[in-house]
Symmetry: D2
Subunit: 283 residues, 4 copies
């Protein structure tokens, strides 16, 4: 494959689209998909995602990067340029509830999730055999209030330099700033409510108590503020007075699975740009 | 028409369905629709809605009611029994934004809202001509911080004994306990967010700020707690990073219209039973 | 457990609800859930589903059945009465695409599908190891144009008297009247389109060709008319011009999984009554 | 306002994005929104929509157009370039059902539909007073089997050179090729079903008969094939066995209103490109 992807964020200004497209054209690249969004015509932010084909990509990529640096400097761009075949490496964190993990593994096996699942880390041993049957390493790192700090240290060592994205697939521990900081905008959590409603623990019990007529789930990047990070995707399902808390959990599991899988898919396809506490999703 | 409706709430116990259906059968009524819900098999609450046909309903209704009192006493029922042709009388409160009022009037004119619209009350004069063109009285009662108390007093006098339901169709004033108390579970408000997210003012601005991917609207009965009353209906619509606050408002207007109209329709068709802070909706 | 379920269909008439609820009350049963629907007040059909608790159900069930026969006769009822612990036995038919089978097995393992999966039958060997890892028998019965008749004969022998419901979980063979007839309203198929649009083969290719903006899936009982049987459940997802046929298939797989799982769940919980070519679903 | 919009369709080829963006940059235009879609990387079609600001647009527009012709020729482009302030002129055709007309007028009055409503044409006189109260001319042109040809001739004369878009807002007559031909891809119809299901007359009765669990509406451009033109937008709503044909119609009216209004909005904002029998919608 000779296909590559480019992601750009910068202050808006005249000539941005022309500069990038002209650059690619002069280097012989053929644009396959081009998405652009300007947050606010006056003094806002500019976001761009381009997919292009370039003959002999492997040989020429470092040159293209070097040449593009001049444009990037001129427009104060934050940018990334990857060949598509360089797949993202994932670590999936899970506790006892398996539905999100099972969904990600199923989509990955079906070829719908274009990534490498490098490892699964869990504070429980339950899923070890299942995960290893896919040939994926499983690290069982128990967490107790006393050992939380050490456990996180161990997690950090295991993932260090080995993964591009951490997916909290119903991982029921609050991750600490020590993990968040090096993985800024690279940890995706699934929260089992329609955020910002029902932050924190037991959201389905909260939803039942409040008597809502629709429940939801939210995939977001993890920040230091609990359930407060940039929202990537949400979806919902209608419920009724007949649905008790267990029924809400059952209905919710399917929403959680679908929402998390979409968010992870978009991340590994570089469709998400983060600005302040919000996401731009080119999908 | 010889059709009537019965609504019952009581503690659950054996023989409830049998007692009511036997009673109706013995009085010659033919059940047309029968909905029942028990909140919790063990020691919970029982809710029932029955529609039935009874020959010479007008002549016999007071007898049926008197006879039923014995059953109601035995099972400690709260109950209502209406002939369908006794339509509910509505007062619609509105401020400047007209979309919810227009929707209710349109549905009413199309025959989809089986109620009587007795009056419109507004703190602005804008919609006077439009409302009066339907032959509906329009009361313009300006509200300022200084005159709020008097204004509410005037509202109370106007609606007293004349309306069964007050609909706050984007009425942008907080109604006081003096109005809420006599109209407990008979004031429906449309809140322009997916409650309990974004309580209070400017919910679309809050939603934009938080970067949600879905917005919603909520129809609820008004209680003393702001936006905290029993939820009747909610609906949502997907949005994206491209939608600014004005666009959210535009998309939201259609959700608000639809959600409020459904809630009002269900209320006037006696499909809603309230228990504590939640609704049972037989729809 | 002393809980049982009763399903009734009969011509509408006065006293039906009273007769059934009185009967249950006199036999000491406590109604837990009661759903009723009359198709048309004038001369229509009456459908009822009751869940009730009855002490010493096992000992008394045959008596209850015998006693009820008199009422059933009087009102010309078609009826069923089961103890809840008598779980339905399923045969799942599958071809190469595994997503619907995986979903059913996952929901079953999670305790969300209250049935017994007695066997999986496939015209391919692909899923043998996976299915058998759950302790479920797997019958590989290849089908070619020449052997179709024999293959169906073999299928019939295997399922005979052993299963209550056949689920076609993306089984890509047309089943013959010989199989349909004994399993009338007991074979559920998932069709990968929003029926009646795109009947027959390659519905996603048809949907792409027509340029629809929403795709769907339909679970229905199988009749002799291809994709023409009573619809149980449908759901949809928005798509856009950007989605090619493969993308439609990918999006569709999740709709198919969810829709089929709901239909099967409703069937095994006796929530579906069939009348002519339509379903009444009490959910 | 100095804002303009450009729409381009052409065979895909290298350098297209660069050529257009470079052209705009050199002419001093500042791109505000840029959407692009390539149907198929190999030998497919290329579609583009650009919004840009250009100082002194009025004075310079004809020069920009003239200069762009060279690029358009080179890449065999079909293209349009409009100033945003040049609003599209609409003729709305309506019969007796008023809900779609009322919705369009309401959205137009609310400022959500950025167009000019030049006239309403109807085969009935019912809505005359209502429409004229907005200051919009109303042409009552009765249609009978005998006068259909003359009626259409009259319609053609009235709209000729005066309108850019014809909206069939539940206009219950089949329009003839004589009208379609000059308004190719400029006549939008709302069909009250989820096409391609239930083509032709009485779609709600057909939907009821088939027992579908979801109903929908479809906005499409009108072609010579009944209900067969390019689909612009669709939406759906869940229904149940409890909903009879009248209830389906009632629920459907809101879907129809919303779907038609979206399609018209997208057309007047030049968000729709038609290729063969499909639409590309940049929204």
């Amino acid at each position: 494959e000779n296909r590559a992807r480019m992601l750009i964020s910068c202050p808006d200004g005249p000539g941005l689209v022309a500069a990038v497209s002209q650059f690619l054209h002069e280097h012989g690249a053929n644009i396959v998909q081009f998405d652009q969004y300007t947050m606010d015509p006056e003094g806002g932010m500019f976001f761009m995602r381009v997919e292009f084909d370039l003959d002999q990509l492997d040989d020429r990529l470092s040159n293209v990067r070097a040449d593009f640096a001049a444009i990037a400097d001129k427009f104060q761009m934050e940018w990334k340029l990857y060949p598509l075949k360089q797949k993202k490496k994932l670590a999936i964190f899970v506790s006892k509830e398996d539905h999100c993990l099972v969904e990600l593994l199923w989509q990955w096996q079906a070829g719908d999730l274009d990534a490498e699942i490098s490892m699964v880390i869990s504070n429980h041993a339950d899923m070890k055999e299942y995960v290893e049957s896919f040939g994926i390493p499983y690290y069982h790192i128990p967490v107790t209030p006393d050992t939380k700090k050490e456990a996180e240290q161990k997690q950090l060592e295991i993932v260090a330099d080995k993964v591009d994205l951490i997916v909290l697939a119903r991982y029921m521990q609050i991750v600490s700033p020590a993990l968040i900081s090096p993985y800024r905008n690279r940890i995706i959590n699934i929260h089992h409510s329609f955020l910002p409603a029902f932050v924190g623990g037991k959201p389905y019990a909260q939803a039942y108590e409040r008597g809502v007529k629709i429940i939801g789930a939210t995939a977001h990047y993890v920040t230091e503020e609990l359930d407060g990070g940039p929202i990537i995707e949400q979806d919902v399902q209608r419920v009724s007075h007949r649905d008790n808390v267990n029924e809400l959990k059952r209905i919710g599991r399917t929403i959680e699975r679908v929402v998390l899988a979409r968010a992870v898919k978009w991340h590994v396809e570089d469709r998400i740009l983060v600005h302040q506490n919000k996401t731009v999703v080119f999908n």
